[in-house]
């Protein structure tokens, strides 16, 4: 921490720096803010410029095209858009009810001491690096999916779902499961904060009318916090859409649409991570970056929506950590 923050104890030492005039100080801060904004603008401009060849060449068919073939230099992003949506849906279908349930428990039901401990533990899920999840998914869950889940599904349905299975464990379902675990802390932490912010008067008002604990939660607390919960869902969705490394490690990275839970496919983020370094052909690179532009736009929009929904509720530093 050698960044000009001085220990209060050294404030009185004799060697004094020349005073910085107020005007210069304000200008300095403004310049810093400007540099930051310029970085963000450069971010967007750089990506768009790098992606331009792909958009210029393929036009709108870049989004609707289902072929992704570096050999014939034909690039359509639809398989990855579909793959991203599929994995996100799987993750959110699990994360919304489970996250909301855990958030209810952590905000209103558990004793406060337990709340703090378990709340911290769930937030720790957000701290675990993406690659560690990927490693766990690839080397622990995938073999388990291959030897237990897929045969079980095959036994029940007589086949491995429409489109057949990868028979190697990795694929859509596994990616969705890993994503679920990764977005769960976002869902839990933010929902918990907005649920805890529901005024006591509201809860007591319902209790005083003869409501049971369950009725208070389902008919008063959740509706009261609905905007914030929607914000939590949106924010978690944003994370699921853009999550890269763990998904890259467990989805198989096949550039084709799959209709099977056990089929391999790729998401927008995973195909970039998987192919970027081997993309020697200019169109290939530009097409990958074009996917990044699409991803950036979608993720930014989702985040803007989420921030607007959560904005009304004050957020703690811990919520920043997981968001």
């Amino acid at each position: 921490m050698t960044v000009g923050i001085r220990n209060p104890g050294t404030a009185g030492q004799p060697r004094r720096r020349p005073a910085v005039p107020n005007g210069l100080y304000r200008a300095g801060l403004s310049v810093a803010a400007l540099v930051f904004v310029a970085l963000l603008v450069a971010f967007v401009v750089d990506l768009v410029v790098q992606a331009r060849p792909a958009f210029a060449h393929f036009g709108f068919s870049f989004i609707t095209g289902t072929q992704w073939n570096p050999v014939t230099a034909h690039y359509g992003a639809l398989p990855f858009i579909v793959g991203t949506l599929e994995t996100t849906v799987i993750a959110m279908v699990l994360a919304i009810p489970i996250g909301l349930g855990a958030a209810l428990s952590l905000s209103h039901l558990l004793p406060s001491r337990t709340r703090a401990v378990i709340g911290t533990a769930v937030e720790m899920l957000a701290a675990i690096p993406s690659v560690v999840y990927g490693l766990w998914g690839l080397l622990v869950l995938a073999p388990w999916a291959r030897t237990v889940i897929e045969p079980a599904v095959a036994f029940v349905f007589g086949h491995r779902g429409p489109g057949g299975g990868s028979e190697i464990g990795v694929g859509l379902l596994l990616a969705g499961l890993i994503l679920f675990v990764m977005v769960l802390p976002t869902m839990v932490a933010i929902s918990r904060d907005v649920l805890a912010a529901v005024p006591t008067e509201q809860i007591e008002g319902a209790l005083a009318l003869g409501a049971t604990k369950g009725q208070v939660l389902s008919r008063v607390v959740i509706p009261h916090a609905r905007a914030g919960i929607l914000g939590a869902i949106t924010l978690a969705t944003g994370r699921a859409l853009g999550e890269t490394m763990a998904v890259t490690m467990v989805i198989g990275n096949t550039p084709a649409i799959t209709h099977s839970l056990f089929g391999t496919t790729a998401t927008m983020a995973s195909i970039i991570a998987n192919q970027f370094t081997e993309a020697t052909e200019p169109f290939h690179l530009a097409s990958l970056i074009a996917i990044a532009v699409l991803l950036l736009v979608v993720a930014a929009l989702v985040n803007v929506a989420a921030r607007m929904l959560v904005r009304s509720v004050g957020r703690s530093v811990s919520a920043i950590a997981v968001a």
């Binding site: 007591e204 319902a206 005083a208 009318l209 003869g210 409501a211 008919r219 509706p223």
Partner: protein, 283 residues
Amino acid sequence: MTDESRVTTAQTDMTAPTTVESSPDAVSSIMQLHEVSVAFSGRPAVRNVSFDIAIGQVTALIGPSGSGKTTLLRALNRMHDTVRTAKVTGAIHLAGIDIYGGTLHPTLVRSRVGMVFQRPNPFPTMSIYDNVVSGLRFNGVRNKALLKEAAESALIAAALWDEVRDRLNASAATLSGGQQQRLCIARALAVEPEVLLMDEPTSALDPQATRRIEDLVGELKDRVTVVIVTHNMQQAARISDRCAFLLMAEDRAGELIEFGPTNQLFSSPTDQRTEDYVNGRFG
């Protein structure tokens, strides 16, 4: 409070549940408080309060802040159950049943003893109509005709019907503060409770809205027994039939100093402390 005393109350209850020596006029009572104490984390907040609540009358709990009025009021519908550290001892009988005796579930106690809070707390995500019938729905009522009938009756009784009859589907958040509080009264009345507890219901309202609520309380008498907490002695004198005066003892626990008909308590109190308080010498 020992188990022994609870047993005794139960026994006396069987024989004579309605007459109490402290009430000069022999009106039958709907609730009886016997040696009621409330403690938070072992620290007493209200101690050994006993009096009867006369049916069809307005009983006011008065006293300076910190005297335990609200704490006592919240013991009457088991609201303290939501606070883990709170402990209520003694016996409170509602129509002959000890509400802490285990025979009546707290949820059912609260549907028979309604409550209106200091600040209006309508459910902002519900319409005006849904707010009024929310208590009925909590209590499992699904009969549409009954819901509608009860809602209209409660809104009329709360003097809100004329103002909202054309916009029952509007959000409750669109109402003014005074209207919101009357909506909360209607919401409580719709469940048709036997007793309505009001915890300083006008403290967040302007004088005009306060006056409307005060008038309303008088009109509610033939429908429901009212117990009201107020820090405003003029209000207590205006609207109540009987008054309970509480005061904080040296250990900060509220105790009942005097209980009796309002005019008697204000004109010729028996306790010097009551006289000092109603004459504005402290509090």
